[in-house]
Homo-oligomer: 337 residues x 2
Amino acid sequence: MESTQLRLARRPVAEPDETTFETTTATLPALEDGQVLLAVRYLSLDPYMRGRLSTAKSYAAPVEIGQVMVGGTVGEVVESRYDGLQPGDLVLSYSGWQSADVVDGAAVRRLDPDAGPPSTALGVLGMPGFTAYAGLLEIGRPQPGETVAVAAATGPVGSAVGQIARIKGARAIGIAGGPAKVRALTEDFGFDVALDHRAPDFAEQLARATPDGVDVYFENVGGHVFEAMLPQLNKHARIPVCGLVAGYNASSAPAGPDRLPGFMAAVLTRSLVVRGFIQDEFTHSHGRDFVRDMGEWVRSGQVRYREDVVDGLENAPAAFAGMLRGTNFGKLVVRVS
Amino acid sequence: MESTQLRLARRPVAEPDETTFETTTATLPALEDGQVLLAVRYLSLDPYMRGRLSTAKSYAAPVEIGQVMVGGTVGEVVESRYDGLQPGDLVLSYSGWQSADVVDGAAVRRLDPDAGPPSTALGVLGMPGFTAYAGLLEIGRPQPGETVAVAAATGPVGSAVGQIARIKGARAIGIAGGPAKVRALTEDFGFDVALDHRAPDFAEQLARATPDGVDVYFENVGGHVFEAMLPQLNKHARIPVCGLVAGYNASSAPAGPDRLPGFMAAVLTRSLVVRGFIQDEFTHSHGRDFVRDMGEWVRSGQVRYREDVVDGLENAPAAFAGMLRGTNFGKLVVRVS
């Protein structure tokens, strides 16, 4: 079987563009014992992927030039030489930006067909949902009556953060870009307050919307939202840091003044907790609770989600570049075949 | 009885100087029931006091112009109308920069005469020692074989951090300014490595001294030590932040480039924990353990301490200004009378 593959052709200096990836076709090897052949149905596009295009020190090795771009996928088993999987089974795999893959059956996880649409395994019931769940509950620890703020709040992480915060009795402030997304924050996701970070007076709006300050700022964007948030942070505020997408395309340190000393002074004088994390460190401690809780919340409608589905692997590069600019609206997935 | 008092006369813009405080004399009121008259024996000088001179948002209200400057003190009871205290008793009080004080007997803590010299209640067995103990053990959580780094390491916090780190099986890197202090780090306090932050190649020395990186950086200075430390921080490194003395006299944000985005990227990609704290939040959870553990360690010689005693309240302002420049050598206390 042949696999259409998108490989890293050139490391982007700033935004990825049409020269970043190249399309190739590979003939997959015959199955060995224990392996399965997958037709990739959905490819997840996520902000962390920008980091994989760079050689800067990070939590994972960069994708090499010429390597198939990495990514979480939902695959359908087409042929199996692994006892636990049969043709037609859907699995969660890490096949990357390609249309088919040969993998060890033991290395993939069979999806429960009753858990929800298969693509949710890449979103609300998958890595982004778990990022929100573990980061908010383990690091953010929202208490009833506290205020939780999050940006990119129509995205898969932000929307889950806001809804879980409300389930835990906190007040949720959602931030997004543009009127359609801002409207969805209150209408679809139940945020108490929705703010548009593109508004010229965004910082003032945020200050007015948080008269008692902010107790948890779930950081997934950085940039000017972070800057507006800083003065609002209460004593003992918690800042789980899972992403900084606003700066992912930056190629050098921005001009001064140097805000780092002032930030550290805020950390000190307000006893802030700032904690970077990657969700997989919490798999052992919180993975089982997540499957139970989030499954229930999604089934009961307490947690809603929105997907932005792009058709065709050939459209992945443009969709990915758009996501880094915030043009997606909901969890971005590519319907591969 | 009269009290010689140092009052805040003018808020310093940068370094405090001879115009910052003024000396006055007050006649103390007669004792009411429940009160005691204290002759102040020792006044503690600590970096946090710089924050009290400023109106910038902080964890405690600023000292008002005309108010007696605040500070921890050891006082001797001269007269008592409080059942639990008798003349001659030594107590820990917060009488500030003055020679005598009238306080509620219930608001001070009687010192155990067997616990050590009275001045240690302001140092290794007091607030600075507890800052080191609680911050290192609760936030830093050093594991055997890990590397712990601390600056101002001959000071009361830093020297305790290093020694407690070693008691817990970690490797201790001490940083100080000038050859005499650097020598004391290994000879008196048992640090594994001693570095002089004034060396032109300090950052390179630090990198060579920490080939396995740094797992806990106990932050009490900021400035160029923090900058040199950043590249050395391991994944999941912990940074308890209890002070930033290098920047306390700064009156505006330094010139660029803006290092904050790069710092947040390090927080994210290395899953750092950055946690500001004031020791008193841990009094309830760790206070009793501290009295037991630190008392034993000091008695057994496992934790040593050094004091820098200045004679005379009139010399407090110059000693305080010097401390902010790092001229003290050990815990700075003023022998008041």
